[in-house]
Amino acid sequence: MVRCAGVAEDERAWIDGLRRGEPAAFDAVFDAYRRRLYGYLVRMTRRRDVAEDLLQDTFLRLAQHARRLAPDTRLGAWLFTVAHRCVISWSRAQAVRAQLAGDFPARDVQADDRSPLSALVDSQAQLALERAFAELAPPYREVALLVGVEGLQPAEVAEILGQKPDAIRQRLARARAQLAAALGEHAPAAWRTA
């Protein structure tokens, strides 16, 4: 799936271990990536229970695919590609469920959405930032999280999301503009003048 010549040494050792079916290599990958993937999944689904399920699906996929990994696989990009696909499947299932539910009153999404994140923030600025991310449309939020939080390059994100680099550049610019607008006074000074 996602390969590159420049794989870090640690990752190369983990991939070799995974290809040999070594549980210790899996544990090392799990420790290295679980927080990053979980943060991405919580912020994309806005539900901790769903994020836990999708995290498990992502790592199960890695475990089942371990022996077939290419030696030059970039694990981060590989894992985020799988996590992204899990989010897409979950979103589609949610849409079908919502359609089937028809006229039943919707649950209080607002209250549920805030709880996993507001419990963790310790300042108004952090809360404003979490809310600003949460209010972004999912395609913009995803790009903002992968580039801003995960530090992935836009070209890499294009590969993970299966989009053209131009589309990612546009989403990136819109995400930044929408975040700046949503943050208002909490936005860094440089953002307000840009």
């Binding site: 070594e22 549980p23 290599a25 475990a63 022996r67 952090q126 930032l129 801003g148």
Partner: protein
């Protein structure tokens, strides 16, 4: 503004986001379930459903052909 500028500014502000993590028990449960599958590949049980469907369809086709031959011959 270039995409590198956008990326740099998003990175700058994202540093303020709190780190999210699972509780230790849930993390261990997830790790254990997945660790047990390392190197095993997908379960062979996933072939059972399509195999049953193929058998049913093939059986029905054979039965249909036999019936058609019977009707034509008789």
């Amino acid at each position: 503004m270039t995409d590198q500028d956008d990326a740099a500014r998003l990175t700058e502000i994202s540093r303020e986001l709190p780190a999210l993590d699972l509780d230790a028990t849930t993390a261990e449960q997830i790790a254990r379930r997945a660790r047990d599958q390392v190197g095993r590949g997908p379960s062979p049980l996933r072939f059972i459903e399509p195999a049953i469907a193929v058998l049913l369809v093939t059986g029905y086709l054979i039965w249909s052909v036999l019936k058609a031959l019977e009707a034509l011959g008789g």
